[in-house]
Symmetry: C2
Subunit: 415 residues, 2 copies
Amino acid sequence: MPGPTAYFDPATVDSLPAATRDLVERRIRVLGPAYRLFYEEPVQFVRGRGTKLYTADGTEYLDAYNNVPSVGHAHPRVAAAIAEQAARLTTHTRYLDRALVDYAEDLVGEFPAPLRNVMFTCTGSEANDLALRIAKAATGGTGIIVTANAYHGVTTEIAAISPSLGGVESLASWVRVVPAPGDGDFAHDVRNALEDFVASGIRPAALIVDTIFASDGVRPFVPGFATAVAAVRAAGALFIADEVQPGFGRLGTGMWGFARHDLVPDLVTLGKPMGNGHPVAAVVARPELVAAFGDHARYFNTFGGSSVSIAAAQATLDVVRDENLVENARVIGDYLLEQLPTIDGVLEVRGSGLFIGVRVADDRVALGAVNALKRRHILLGESGKDNDVLKIRPPLVFDRADSDRLLEGLTGVLA
Amino acid sequence: MPGPTAYFDPATVDSLPAATRDLVERRIRVLGPAYRLFYEEPVQFVRGRGTKLYTADGTEYLDAYNNVPSVGHAHPRVAAAIAEQAARLTTHTRYLDRALVDYAEDLVGEFPAPLRNVMFTCTGSEANDLALRIAKAATGGTGIIVTANAYHGVTTEIAAISPSLGGVESLASWVRVVPAPGDGDFAHDVRNALEDFVASGIRPAALIVDTIFASDGVRPFVPGFATAVAAVRAAGALFIADEVQPGFGRLGTGMWGFARHDLVPDLVTLGKPMGNGHPVAAVVARPELVAAFGDHARYFNTFGGSSVSIAAAQATLDVVRDENLVENARVIGDYLLEQLPTIDGVLEVRGSGLFIGVRVADDRVALGAVNALKRRHILLGESGKDNDVLKIRPPLVFDRADSDRLLEGLTGVLA
């Protein structure tokens, strides 16, 4: 998640053009102060296609930010699948549905062998929340280890393991925070957290990490990751891979981020790009863990795995494969990783595929770049605990021409 | 939620017809044991329209159970709104969106004056979870009061206040359970719970109830409700109306269930019928409460309030009004409430509008009736902590002919 500096400041509402000001004021009045708008001057898009977004007057923006419309904005195959199913039937998982079973098998077929169960939710937050419920039920533990600036979602339970959120809830007593990989010795730090649980009489349940460490500023290489996971398992706890952001091919090295680290998680959570914008998410798990949970609890999510959600998810997965988007993420990502370090003002480039963090001098430079790029009609975000990392995370159909436009824009605004 | 007896028993899988058996076995293998299927012999529907669902061979079922497709299965206006928006753009609330602001204003306009803020989520679980976060932030308390067989959702936090779920999580130390209205003296029981909080050094945050007490067996009349709410407020806590089931006109007496009791809640949660099956939900609140929360925390729900969700929700709300569905719920509900008590085997009828509980002798009679009606191609559920209540909760377009078909079916199976 980008830092608060990338947002519109409501105190500046009077400086907006009249029509925008009116809409922004109405919005603040009805949605209240917990909502944020991007950019010094907020923008409204009325349509999208591929990597492009358009305002009402037809102005085209290049989207190098949005990871949810992963196969491209308003992809015709996904939109058609949603339209067809919505016109026919939307119902839930307590009736039989061949399409649900087909998709579930198709999805788990993309995972290494021990991960053979899937449960459906509507959001990544719900998926992480359910993964923690399963992990706690299966281990009998409660302790959760997260990284320093982790973001895993917004339910009460998941906000409590998301240091990046700040806010009214302080981190729970059963949470231990370790430095992001690269800021410390990951294996050592995780072992310390496990020892601290023992000292506090808390039984550990899981280590959960976003496998590209997005909110920690993008960390593609994690020395000691396998050692840390082995220590977690030796302590009777589980490894949960939060693939809500890296999953479905974004890293260019396969479908899932955990594979880059030669690891097989116990539980995997999926979300954002899964239905290309339709609210669908999931937990993929080892069957023994689901059994340990399901023996004592039933689970029903009214909209989770509903007919339209499955149609959207199946179409999205089909497009990722049929349009070779993992390969595209690799090729275009490699090009960007090669070109970005040559730009003046870029201090460090970290990433894999189409998930790239670009560290600049400080948060003011990053903030200035994000707003200046927006004025050049290029969308980008910022990240990292110091908000000094530009986050490049476009739809996976981003191509060479898009890349050159982004590189040219970045060169201009960082000059 | 219906009791476990209304579900398919996996141990009987060998007795199913071959094609169904294969699909059920595949489903159990990939989804695991926490999922449930309705009926002794599960059924698959391939399309729906209005109050009717159809299997692949064209057999028509009358739907007297599903409250999510509230304006009717696959309503053409809602399906068209979803299709049009999905083909154009799906994006999130960090960009400006006039349709979002228009819908938000339209929705809060349906509430009494103090309730002027709305925040969007994807599910009723997320809405209840967010409402609790807001209530806790605004009151500084943690104590939550719920009814005996309450069901409010499936996040960790909300499962912990849902006694009907049972399962691995025992109720949290900050939860107090009061008997369902009618099983005790509601005002007295709530006051006792508040006193118990004081004695335990726990500051109360909220009383949360489903305003038709669906999982408590449907309780339309609640003596002492206003007194209970006054006591809650006197203790510095809030009243949260869970309108996920009764909301959007189902009770026939207006849009919201709380209005039947002449109460104005501090927070209201919405879900299931809000997008006629599309995953969209919300919290409606007094602005002071959202301010108390938003001053310390930001809230972003990737899919909550996204473009397609808003299109679905606006079309659904428009249809509820344009097709006079609140009035239809009242008229048809009154007809059912008048006719149902004349059926042999019906011990008690409770309800309002198209949310009706029919108490029969015991859980075996209720279970038998649900499965026998299904064989007659009529869908119904059961409810209540003893599973002895048949739950009639059809799409709001249920008409007189549908009612007569249901009454005839019930008469037959209870004979």
